[in-house]
Subunit: 248 residues, 2 copies
DNA sequence: CGGCAGTTTGACAAAACTCAAACACGGTGG
DNA sequence: CCACCGTGTTTGAGTTTTGTCAAACTGCCG
């Protein structure tokens, strides 16, 4: 389990923040001088657990992660999937006790950023605070959309909607193009994310395949017909707030 | 529709923030000098709508509100219920286009706070920014818990869980005691919040009544047996993060 | 060549939904 | 004061979606 100080990893954070707002040289420099510690985790390992009081946030450099909660040792709800550039536990900066867990979905490289230094950053640079705050608000916007899905959409719509969402998020960071992307999510995970059983997910996936909407094999999602897919689930990307915000 | 400048309303905001962290005199003074404009809205009126680009946040002084989204003119998902002291659209401070709507549930008195002044406040006082940021993070924590409900809990558990949550939130601001509180939420609203039909909500409510867990009549909820109620839904209040945070 | 995790399929069961009608209740106007 | 109205609640009967259980199948990894 390698672990080393690493400054290059912070360039990813700079790129991510610059995709949201313009940074001043001073801000960029302050980010790059954060003391990051990089670590590689195997697939299926917890990053933080419910009840923990973490002292670091975790930036994903490579790989996928997810957040989840277990109730009575059998039922699991997945809240989100995370890809490189995300800080899945950014909320721990201001909420000291974890009310849920985060784990890797694939082998991942993670950079751990001390709360202390991040808090210092947000105090010195209110516009950086605003960008990070906004990131957590978009997180919440995605939660809301998942609520709409679980509360009011059919299994078919829910799955289609999630595929649209993930494709756009991957595309935004250059990890997807021409309606094709990696999707290292098992049908069990999909079920736990969407409030369905893996069996039912499987049946719906089969139907989507038969309708020529998508193919999902070997960890790769191919969207055969984007227009039909978004039509089938009423997808509207507004809630992802992907447009670059006006310069700070 | 009366509308007037009002400084007293801001004392409610001060009290709310002081229940979370200790404020300096300077901070308290800065909040009290925010230019608030108070307005009374009848029940069932939209406060902000999906697509709007609001220039104010809205502090609830009295009454109840809720946030929701409509899909294809028939299905509605409610995301949250809000009570006095809440700022249901605090997120609009950093997300400029509303991706959902907010409305009053009962006649309500609302204080509108200009984004401009709130942003100035967060820039001048990073510790106030932290408190408000934290409020939006708790909002998201509640979303996650609702996701657990809609994804992985039975209708019975979901309803019981919501009652526990609302009771504790009301109690925290002094609007509930001895297991009794106002609950101006129709069974239709409950269904739209929990991903159920009003018919099914009605049947489950009947069952809860028959089991002697609760009574709900005339807009008043009485929890007959708190211990059984939390037992029946596995309620754990951690996610509400109600404990006062360490002084800033 | 196993072995294990994940997928696929079938038969059946249950939770929740739909439609429809009756009922309660608070507010309004005659 | 009472009839009426609208909104919300309650109940019933039948349907649908999704879940459960169980077994077979696939594919990758050691």
């Amino acid at each position: 389990m390698p672990s080393s100080p690493d400054t290059h990893s912070l360039e990813m954070l700079v790129r991510r923040l610059e995709s949201i707002a313009t940074l001043s040289d001073e801000e960029r420099q302050a980010i790059l001088s954060l003391p990051a510690r990089t670590r590689v985790l195997k697939a299926g390992h917890d990053i933080v657990r419910e009840g923990d009081k973490p002292s670091h946030c975790c930036l994903i450099l490579s790989g996928w992660a997810y957040r989840y909660k277990l109730i009575d040792q059998g039922r699991r709800q997945i809240f989100s999937f995370h890809i490189p550039g995300d800080i899945p536990d950014l909320q721990s900066l201001h909420i000291h006790t974890m009310d849920h867990s985060a784990a890797t979905l694939t082998e991942s490289t993670l950079a751990f950023l001390p709360h202390e230094n991040l808090l210092d950053l947000t105090t010195r640079f209110p516009s950086l605070a605003a960008i990070l705050w906004r990131e957590t608000l978009i997180d919440a916007a995605i939660f809301r959309e998942w609520m709409v899905g679980m509360g009011r959409r059919t299994a078919f719509e829910r799955i289609a909607h999630l595929f649209c969402e993930l494709y756009l998020k991957l595309q935004a960071v250059g990890l997807a193009q021409s309606y094709r992307c990696a999707l290292p999510i098992t049908q069990i995970d999909l079920g736990d994310a969407l409030g369905l059983t893996n069996v039912h997910v499987n049946r719906v996936l089969k139907e989507m395949r038969e309708q020529g909407l998508i193919t999902l094999r070997g960890g790769t999602l191919v969207i055969e017909s984007w227009d039909e897919l978004i039509g089938a689930c009423g997808f509207d990307p507004t809630y992802l707030h992907l447009e670059k915000r006006a310069a700070a």
